[in-house]
Subunit: 248 residues, 2 copies
DNA sequence: CTTGACTATAACGCTGCGTGATGGTGTATA
DNA sequence: TATACACCATCACGCAGCGTTATAGTCAAG
């Protein structure tokens, strides 16, 4: 299929498809003769995933990080997205209730508290995040929190210092290819460091899952990106590749 | 209430509230001593409206045009918004169905057509628009279309020319105050022109409603704004004021 | 060989805020 | 009375995700 046909099929504009290609989000093959884009079925499936992730409120760069990761699992993504949509439905119900109450209040049939007027109208928190936490991260996060909690103040600050150093050194690599030897060697160091310092043994899967959380979970993203813009997305890719390679 | 309290109550950031004030969307009174913003209950109700309109996908400038119009009716807005939300719920159901089918297709239990993969994922058309059409405009639009259809080609182009001239002259006024005498005189001309040339007699209410449609309905907005950026929003205000004044 | 319907890239514009920077106010504490 | 500290204010700049021209090459039909 050519660009225009995909546009017609999906409702995404041609311009947008060009843009997605340019930013490395959806890069179809090309016709050898004239260089025109050629979308095959796998491209369409990927586009569908992209659109679902957009619905879940992720930025394009995050989506790219997620779907490019070798540890990306379509089935899991579908399941999380379903949970997100169910959340959304409930939110809409809340908003409908708010609406009906506001109507009644307008007629004087109901006395509405101020905070009631805004139920369901808060735009901030992303339920997809919550679900992803439950699926991938909370045990790991909780465990390490528990472990850290059991340390003395000195030990705590030592660990904190170690993490700081680790992320500083990782940040310097973030413009290189995540699959390169240098980066993968750093990943090996990271994996070992985590296993030594967090009271849990990370399986390779859990390590890759933690990488996914670096982009899906704002608690991580925001802290990590302080060491350098885009670091979390870079790490997600590099950790996924590391887990995949080592699993062999 | 001060700015921070409102922020806490609604989930809207302080920065955003400042911004809304600056662009004339939500301008609370001020404390005389220090110039601080003071939000009263009416402001909160308005903010609620603004948030509902945002959910419906309107831009801030459109929202401003809608709520500032004297013909703005809170109850009608609530009702339209409810319909919009119900639409959204149905769309989510469609997306959920698409999701489940995709899962099945992945397992090989179902053969999915390409276009089926994108059901519910099209972001473009705004259901609020459709509802607003049904409520305010379709009869008027249909009637005038019918009337114009009954004309000869010459007459048609004469009407088209007249409309073109009319909007050109209106566009020149668009930076003035919609309530000013000059603008209101032009509105009088517009009202008469419409009643003479569209085979329908516009009630003042219908005239104001048409103004609302100029901003809610992209069929109008896009055409009108060709004569000058923001013309549709300006006209919506001016027509609303005209109808209100003349009703007295 | 020209027309019209495609394709391509490149560059500028727009919206809705977030994020400081900088400075005035108000009240509590030393 | 000084000073700290939390809160308010107004700029000014930056960013994502495209829409929108502008400009140019490709291809089949007439």
């Amino acid at each position: 299929m050519n660009t225009k046909q995909v546009a017609g099929l999906t409702g995404i504009s041609v311009r947008t498809l060009h843009y997605y290609d340019k930013i490395g989000l959806l890069c179809p093959g090309r016709n050898d003769e004239n260089g025109y884009r050629q979308y095959v079925e796998a491209d369409l499936d990927l586009l569908q995933q992209i659109l679902f992730f957009k619905k879940c409120g992720f930025s394009l760069s995050k989506i790219r990080a997620l779907i490019k990761s070798p540890s990306f699992d379509r089935k899991q993504a579908f399941i999380l997205q379903r949970k997100y949509l169910q959340h959304e439905k409930r939110r809409i119900d809340t908003m409908l209730a708010t609406l009906d109450k506001s109507l009644k209040a307008m007629k004087g049939e109901y006395d509405m508290a101020q905070n009631e007027k805004f139920k369901g109208l808060d735009f901030d928190n992303n339920p997809y995040e919550d679900e992803a936490r439950r699926l991938w991260g909370d045990q790991a996060v909780d465990n390490s929190k528990k472990h850290i909690g059991s340390l003395s103040d000195e030990e705590k600050s030592a660990v904190a210092k170690g993490m700081d150093d680790l992320f500083c050194s990782l940040a310097k690599l973030r413009l290189q290819d995540p699959a390169s030897d240098a980066v993968q060697a750093a990943m090996d160091g990271m994996y070992r460091y985590f296993n030594q310092n967090f009271g849990v043994t990370y399986s390779l899967q859990a390590f890759a899952g933690l990488g996914q959380m670096y982009v899906t979970d704002s608690r991580f993203t925001e802290n990590i990106d302080k060491y350098g813009a885009g670091l979390s997305e870079f790490l997600a890719a590099a950790m996924g590749i590391y887990a995949k390679n080592k699993a062999k």
